[in-house]
C-alpha cells in the first residue's frame, strides 16, 4: 500500500488561553485512501487530545467536518490526503478553520451568523392552498420535470463551505450568502409554494446582485450544487416579478438589447443603459482615458452576419415554457 510521510500544519486557537492563533505541526505517515478526518482523529487520539474539530457521519452527508485545506474549504471526511498532497505538489498541508465566521476553538467555527441569515430568508415551504390539498386524502404531485428545476439545490448539507469561500460575503455584511440564496431560489420555483417568484424580492433585499460570480461556491461545494446558478436564476425571477429599476436588472436588459440590435455587446452605451446619466458621470474620467487610447467602438454597431436568424432564435427561445 502506498505510504508517505506528511506534515499537517494546523491552525490552533483556544480563546481561554491564547491571545492569538498559531500554527502547530504534526508529522504522520499517511496511506492511500486515508481521509483528512482520519488524520485529525489520529492526531487527537495519539498526539494531542486538545485538538478541537467537528465531525460526525464520516460519509459526507452531515456537513459538520468542513475545514480549509491549503486555503480551500472541504469536508475532512471526503478529502483524501494523498490526492491533496499530489495536487499541491507538497508534503505539507495547512489545515485551518473556515473563513467568514468567528473561530470558537481550533478548527471549529461559529455557524450561527450564517444560519441566522438563512432563517431570515425564510427558506421553507409556505404551502399554497390552491396547490397543496388541505386534507391527507388528496395528493400533491410534483412531476419529475418540475422537480428537475430545483432538485440539486435540495442536496445542500449546510456545511458552509460556500459561505466560507464566498467573495461577496467577505466584502458585504448584508449579502444573503450563497447557500442561503440558493435555498431561496429552490422555493421560488416550487409549484407548491405560496410566495414563489415573490421570494426573489427577499433576495433583492439581501443584495443578491452583489454576487461577483467568482464561481468559488460552485467549485467548493461537496454536493456539486453550484449555488451561483440558483442566485443567477433568482435574479432573473426578480426581473420577471417587476424589480426592473436597478443597475443589475438594467444591465441584463442592456445585454439583451445589444443582442437584438447587432448581436454583439454595445459597450459604449452600457454605462448609460445600466445606470443612466449617473453611469456616464461616474465613469467619465476612465471613459475619456479609454477613448483617447482608441479603446472604444462606434456607438452604432454593424450587425453580425446571420443576425436576423439570431433574432429569430432569441424570439423562439423567449417563448419556451
Amino acid at each position: 500500500m502506498e505510504k508517505r510521510e506528511a506534515t499537517f500544519r494546523i491552525k490552533r486557537f483556544n480563546p481561554l488561553k491564547d491571545t492569538k492563533p498559531y500554527y502547530q505541526e504534526f508529522k504522520l505517515t499517511v496511506f492511500k485512501g486515508m481521509t483528512l478526518l482520519e488524520v485529525l482523529q489520529q492526531i487527537k487520539d495519539k498526539i494531542d487530545p486538545t485538538l478541537a474539530f467537528r465531525a460526525f457521519c464520516r460519509s459526507a452527508i452531515c456537513g459538520s467536518c468542513s475545514v480549509k485545506v491549503n486555503g480551500f474549504p472541504k469536508l475532512a471526511c471526503k478529502t483524501q490526503v494523498i490526492t491533496e498532497l499530489e495536487k499541491f505538489k507538497t508534503d505539507t498541508l495547512t489545515i485551518e478553520p473556515l473563513d467568514n465566521m468567528e473561530v470558537i476553538r481550533d478548527l471549529i467555527v461559529d455557524w450561527d451568523g450564517a444560519l441566522k441569515k438563512m432563517e431570515e430568508l425564510k427558506p421553507y415551504l409556505i404551502p399554497d392552498p390552491k396547490v397543496v390539498p388541505q386534507t391527507l386524502e388528496e395528493e400533491c404531485k410534483v412531476l419529475p420535470q418540475e422537480l428537475k428545476k430545483y432538485d440539486k439545490f435540495t442536496d445542500c448539507i449546510l456545511c458552509t463551505s460556500c459561505f466560507s469561500a464566498c467573495t461577496a460575503v467577505n466584502i458585504d455584511e448584508k449579502y444573503g450568502g450563497p447557500f442561503q440564496l440558493a435555498r431561496l431560489y429552490r422555493f421560488a420555483v416550487d409549484k407548491r409554494d405560496a410566495l414563489k417568484g415573490e421570494r426573489a424580492k427577499i433576495g433583492y433585499a439581501y443584495n443578491m446582485w452583489n454576487c461577483v460570480r467568482c464561481e468559488k461556491c460552485a467549485d467548493v461545494c461537496p454536493k456539486h450544487i453550484a449555488p451561483v446558478d440558483g442566485i443567477m436564476k433568482l435574479r432573473g425571477i426578480s426581473i420577471e416579478v417587476g424589480l426592473k429599476d436597478n443597475p443589475g436588472a438594467r444591465h441584463v436588459e442592456a445585454f439583451y438589447k445589444s443582442l437584438l440590435e447587432s448581436g454583439t455587446l454595445n459597450e459604449v452605451l452600457l454605462p448609460l443603459r445600466t445606470k443612466g446619466i449617473k453611469g456616464i458621470i461616474e465613469n467619465l474620467p476612465v471613459g475619456i482615458k479609454m477613448l483617447l487610447k482608441g479603446k472604444a467602438h462606434s456607438p452604432i454597431l454593424k450587425p453580425i452576419k446571420e443576425h436576423k436568424s439570431l433574432v429569430k432564435l432569441i424570439k423562439v427561445a423567449m417563448e419556451v415554457e
Binding site: 467568482c214 436564476k233 482615458k289 482608441g294 423567449m318
Partner: protein, 286 residues
Amino acid sequence: MGRYAFYPGCAAKGASKELYESTVAVAKELDLELVELPQFSCCGAGVLEEVKEAVDLAVNARNLAIAEREGFKTIITVCSTCLLVLRKTKWLLDNDEELKEKVNELLKEVNLEYKGEVEVKHFHWVVLEDLGEEGLREKVKRPLKGLKVYPYYGCHTVRPYEILGFEPSENPNSLERIIRALGGEVALGKRRLECCGFHSFWPNPKGSLLLTGLNLIDAKKSGADCIITPCPLCHMNLDANQSRALKEVKESFKIPVLHVPQLIGLALGIEQKKLGIHRNIVEVNC
C-alpha cells in the same frame, strides 16, 4: 500548427482592442491559424441566464453549432468569461440528452444543429498544448530576463473545475509555465485566484474596486514588475480602473497590467505597436 475558429468576445473588439491585436500578432508568429467567424454573437457573459435560461443556451449553442457547421473542431477565445459561458453550455448539453434535444429543436428554426463535436479552449491553453513550454521557448527572441511577472488568473479560466478542467482550480500553473518559458520570473502572491469584482461593478462599484485594489496591493507586495491576466474583464478592472481601485484601498502606485498575448508578443520580439501596448492605460515601459 492547428486551425481554429476564433471567438474574440466583445471586449477584445471594443474596450480591449489591444488584446485582439496582440492575439492576432502572436498567433501569426506561432503559426496558429485563427479564423474569426463573422456569425459569432456575444455570449451574453452569463447575464443572458438572467434573461432566460433557454435564451442563454440557444444563443451559445448557436455559436458552437456555427463553428461545427464551418468545419472547426476547436473554438479559441481570449476572454475568460466567454470561455466559461461557452464551455458551460457545451457541458450542460453534452451531459443531458433531453436538454440537448430541446435546444436543437430551437436551433432547427434557424437551420442549425449542435452535435457536440466542437471543443472550446483558451488561447494560452492552446499555446501550451500545441507548442509546449519547450516549443514556446524556442520562439523567444527577447527573453524576459529579470522581469518579475505576477500571474493573475481571476475566476473564469479555472473555476468551476468541473466545467473548465484544464488544470486544478486550486493550484493552476499554466500562466507560470508561460512566464518561465518566456524567460521571466514568477512573482508569487496570495491573490492570484481571487476575484477582481468585475461582474459586480454596476450594482456594487465600491466592492468591485475594493477587490481589485486588494489584488493590486498583493501584486505590488510580491515584488512584481507587472501583472498578466488571461481575461480582458479582469484587465479592465486592474488596468483602466487601477487608480480608483487603489483609492478604495488608500494606496497610490502604478503597476503595468498586460494581457497574456501581449507578454508573449514582447518576448517573441513583435513590434510593440502590433501588440497594442500603447493602448494600455497604465504605461508599460518595455
